[in-house]
Symmetry: C2
Subunit: 217 residues, 2 copies
DNA sequence: TAGACAATACGTATAAATACCTACTCCCGG
DNA sequence: CCGGGAGTAGGTATTTATACGTATTGTCTA
């Protein structure tokens, strides 16, 4: 039942061999690929950003701890969903983990079925997130190919101004606005105002007031 | 420093008088209003949905537990941010709480400053959430006042069809589309296509494909 | 320095949307 | 059974947006 998409990968980081061994067996038995690492450092050197999946992470480890790795991933803007697994952790650790975005925090020993369920959930989450991010990037990319002037015009379009109003605001001719507008539609690959709006607003995910910020980012 | 907006309220639910007493003193000292309750049941009977704030919730209590109250609030669609406070809880409890949306989970005894910080954060979150929800409701309300036909037309508008295309799709005249369109703009209180798009898409928070579902909900 | 691109602007023509108006039919509820 | 709203449609005039094409100026770069 667990997702056995061939392209997804479960990362397991735990310093104990026994844990790596048994979890590898468990997870592979569902058809889900898994790679395990004995330390956070090794994981960081082998993580493949292209591959959707999730991370099973031990809290207490020599050198870099699980929570530290979580911080490091945040810093590197790596958003792989993390399921913590721990033998001797306390509430403060779990709270920190969750507040930093962990999807779950399980105590060893845990119920195998529960773990598998959480893994599936985490992977789904990652896939959904990746789709959203890539869509966002695509649009952001087009946005960044607009000239500064075009971006200004776009931000006015999104706020609902007509060509005439924009011309007045920018102190340029109606014709020029039309030219910019046509270029914008072309560069953004939008077929209609509606499409353009969707791209401009959804991608920056902010109210139109803040749009100018988003478009320049 | 803690927000002392007169209209916000901290709810405290704990069966121990000593806890209620000391926390009340602490929180009132910052100028923040607080009301405490000895049980989940009493809280439920006295909760004021109009008042933004947050909930400090003890986990272990006679009768209904903190986690049960959290579930009940979810069931009642009451989305007040919850900060759990607990003396003898374990990781499973904290995990359950977080997965159900808790903003934090603190162990007694906790650092007063930390608690106050979390309260402030939670209240801000509630205020932001309430604003979003009320905006959403306002728009949803307008959406529901559209006739079925108008909703159909709106869903086509949002997908980027021109009047002519819509007329063809719905097998009605161009004029009728224009009439519907005018009614839609009026009822939705939109001044421009851009505004209309914002309302129609942001409120349903879904891709235009699914818009027809959202608009009928 | 020549060529590319951005920003500006004009002309003309067509297409689309908006703003007014009226009017018919159907169906539902008082 | 009658009034009113919804859905339909036509007329006319105006405003906007598009779609062509051309041209000037300035900046940046190969």
């Amino acid at each position: 039942m667990t997702g056995n998409r061939p392209d997804t990968l479960v990362y397991l980081v735990d310093d104990e061999f026994a844990v790596r061994d048994s979890l590898t067996l468990l997870i592979e038995s569902t058809g889900q690929a898994i790679r395990s690492f004995a330390s956070a450092e090794v994981f960081l050197n082998n993580y493949d950003p292209e591959r959707p999946g999730c991370l099973l992470l031990d809290v207490r480890m020599p050198s870099m701890s699980g929570l530290e790795l979580q911080d490091e991933l945040l810093r590197r803007e790596i958003s792989i969903p993390i399921i913590f697994i721990s033998g001797h952790a306390g509430i403060p650790d779990s709270a920190k983990a969750f507040r930093a975005g962990a999807v779950d925090f399980l105590e060893k020993p845990f119920d195998n079925e529960k773990l598998l369920g959480r893994i599936e959930e985490a992977i789904k989450k990652d896939i959904a997130n990746r789709e959203q991010v890539s869509e966002h990037r695509k649009i952001q990319n087009r946005l960044n190919h607009l000239t500064v002037r075009e971006q200004e015009v776009l931000s006015l379009i999104v706020r609902g101004y007509s060509n005439k109003e924009m011309a007045k605001i920018l102190n340029i001719s109606n014709r020029t606005i039309e030219a910019h507008r046509a270029h914008i539609m072309e560069k953004m690959q939008a077929e209609s105002l509606a499409e353009l709006m969707m791209m401009a607003t959804h991608s920056s995910h902010n109210a139109p007031d803040n749009f100018s910020l988003a478009v320049r980012a």
